[in-house]
């Protein structure tokens, strides 16, 4: 493979890896705090993409229903992104309130929580299919696409934005988790669930915060994904989100660093496998490779083996 193709694939991998890392971090944060694999997170990403689609198209006056005013692009973009993140965070919190909290308060077996999470994800997907139909939607062009050819490798401005955004968001997240009191509480809950309320910290509030952050990040990933790949499908939550989930697990579920690494690893595997083999083998090879990694290192790359007291 020539250097140019290699670099081109590298840039593409970084882009896809950024999406997957943003989503994977959401999975990992909820697992760290709740010890629950939030299977619905991939579909929260889908909700974010679709909400961004509706808001963007509405504000850009692309719908048949026209707003009485026209907004310039530099207003539409931040408004769309922030509103999408807010609405998606609301969806995530509602999910936690309605589906997970009653089970947690009842002290239900973790298995029931996992089943509920899986069903909630599928419910979101099929609600989308039922409500919006099977036709794919076209994400509005929020950013004017510009291509920068750098010595044979073409980089789009969206790719640059996505990668920079992913790194800065993860930097902010690292800051929150390591340096703030909220973050300390989140880490505390993942170490010892029962001691935290004894220290005067409301576990419910921290859990809601975790869901807000995770869902907002997934929404950001959704909007950026829609900008990069404008065709939205109802099952994109499953296609993209569950890949991110496997990435989070391989990285070590519960470790944010692991989720980021896993996301980029998944991105690189997907792109480079498709570069060398027919694209139909992509999923097969990816999942097999990841299962092998899990077989060798069952707790993931950065995961810490949990000790259970008998």
């Amino acid at each position: 493979m020539s250097l140019e193709t290699f670099l081109q694939n590298f840039i593409n991998s970084m882009q896809i890896g950024s999406f997957l890392a943003l989503i994977a971090v959401g999975y990992t944060m909820v697992y760290g705090v709740l010890l629950l694999i939030n299977f619905a997170h991939g579909d929260i990403f889908m909700v974010g993409a679709y909400v961004g689609y509706f808001l963007g198209t509405l504000l850009l006056n692309r719908f048949d229903f026209q707003l009485p005013f026209d907004l310039p692009a530099w207003v539409v973009v931040p408004v769309t992104v922030i509103l999408t993140m807010a609405i998606t965070a609301l969806v995530g919190v509602t999910l936690e309130r309605v589906a997970y909290r009653p089970l947690r308060n009842r002290g239900a077996h973790r298995l029931y929580l996992v089943i509920t999470a899986l069903s909630a994800g599928l419910l979101l997907e099929y609600l989308n299919l039922w409500g919006l139909g099977a036709k794919d939607r076209q994400f509005p062009e929020l950013f004017e696409k510009q291509i920068y050819p750098i010595s044979g490798v073409s980089v789009t401005n969206i790719q640059v934005m996505v990668i920079l955004l992913a790194f800065s968001v993860m930097g902010v997240l690292w800051f929150i988790v390591q340096k703030t009191r909220w973050g300390m509480a989140m880490r505390a809950i993942s170490y010892d669930r029962l001691a935290v309320p004894l220290m005067g910290v409301s576990v419910d509030k921290i859990i809601v915060t975790t869901f807000v952050i995770g869902s907002a990040m997934a929404a950001l990933a959704g909007v950026m994904y829609g900008s990069a790949y404008p065709i939205l499908r109802f099952d994109m939550g499953m296609l993209v989100g569950w890949r991110a989930f496997i990435a989070a697990v391989v990285g070590g579920i519960g470790s944010i660093r692991g989720a980021m690494l896993g996301g980029y690893l998944m991105g690189f595997t997907q792109i480079y496998v498709a570069a060398f083999l027919p694209s139909t083998y992509r999923d097969l090879i990816t999942f097999t490779v990841f299962l092998l990694i899990l077989a060798v290192r069952p707790n993931g790359l950065f995961g810490v083996a949990r000790r259970t007291k008998v």
Partner: protein, 348 residues
């Protein structure tokens, strides 16, 4: 009385399902639904063995069903029918009557071997990892079959209709329904005996407390693999029957939605209850058929039902009890779980 009670029950169900179909009293659609019910019963009981009795969380059962469906269908179509995939049959279509059950068994064995691939790496780990791995197995199976163009890839595989017709030409019986009925009986007998055996008690012990059972001489790894293979093998047999019932299979029919449907049936019936699995399989299949006019809303209803179930009745219809536990007057005729559990207790 107890000796023959189950035989009478089987004879009764035979009399209301297979016999009238043979005599032509039911139309094709009713026969189709009955066969589907039988297949779902086998699937639910087989998944109940893994999710209910053993307490694991396997979300990929559809993949094993799919393995059985494809293997059995490929065998029958290759050997007994003239198809666009393979050409002329290798053996006379008249032998299909004997070849069909063999193909089903081979499909089941193939599914069990495939499950071995999944079970061995996953049982090294604890907790949610089986869920993750079986979820990935869904994708792996679909991706695997979509890459094998010789059996149609994503476009699907067909030709089983000719095999079923060939069987009907030799002796006019509703063959697929008959074999489905036999599969249901065999499944119930196997699983019932397995669960009441020492191995079965070990399985339940694993569910209750894996570490304690390991201390109490239960070979957890071996038992997990055995139970997993048994459950997936039965699912493979059901898959083979399913393939021949719908006569056209493609990888998407054995994907996440199918896995979810099976999960719903297991948890609706109750983890660890064979009668619960039977009841919920019958009820849920009929419900799905009744909801057909609703189209896509059906797919919304399935996960919604599961969520509501988890919120309000996580134990399902029967919990982990069998019918004679719920209706004590049945104990004169059938053995209940209590009797099995207390068999050989100190108070005898």
């Amino acid at each position: 009385m107890k000796r023959y009670s189950m035989l009478l029950v089987y004879a009764f169900f035979f009399a209301i399902t297979v016999l009238p179909s043979w005599l032509g009293l039911y139309d094709q659609y009713i026969q189709f639904v009955m066969t589907l019910i039988g297949i779902n019963i086998v699937l639910t009981i087989s998944l109940n063995l893994i999710n209910g009795y053993m307490g694991e969380f396997s979300v990929g059962h559809a993949a094993f069903m799919g393995v059985g469906a494809y293997v059995a269908s490929i065998i029958t179509v290759r050997l007994f029918s003239d198809s666009s995939f393979f050409g002329a049959p290798l053996l006379s279509p008249k032998l299909a009557i004997f070849g069909f059950p063999l193909a089903l068994i081979v499909g089941g064995i193939a599914a069990a071997l495939f499950s071995l691939l999944v079970a061995v790496p996953s049982f090294r780990t604890r907790g949610d990892y089986l869920a993750i791995i079986t979820l990935a197995v869904n994708f792996i199976f679909k991706s695997l079959v979509e890459n094998i163009n010789a059996v149609g890839g994503p476009r699907g595989f067909m030709g089983m209709g000719k095999v079923t017709n060939a069987m009907g030409d030799v002796i006019d019986l509703p063959w697929v329904m008959l074999w489905t009925f036999l599969a249901v009986v065999v499944t119930i007998v196997i699983v019932r005996n397995f669960v009441s055996s020492t191995m079965g008690k070990g399985i339940v012990a694993i569910r209750e407390d894996e570490i304690a059972s390991e201390l109490m001489t239960v070979d957890t790894r071996r038992l997990k693999v055995i139970a997993f293979m048994l459950g997936c093998g039965l699912a493979g047999v059901a898959g083979g029957l399913h393939g021949h019932t719908i006569s056209f299979i493609n990888p998407s029919s054995y994907f996440i939605l199918q896995s979810t449907i099976m999960l719903v049936m297991v948890y609706l019936g109750g983890m660890g209850s064979i009668s619960g699995s039977v009841i919920s399989a019958i009820g849920f299949t009929i419900l799905l058929e009744l909801l057909k006019p609703l189209d896509v809303l059906r797919w919304v209803a399935i996960p919604l039902l599961l969520i509501l179930l988890m919120l309000f009745r996580p134990t399902g219809i029967m919990g982990n009890r069998e019918l004679p536990d719920v209706f004590p007057w049945l104990r004169k005729y059938f053995t209940s779980t209590e009797e099995i559990v207390s068999h050989g207790s100190a108070t005898d």
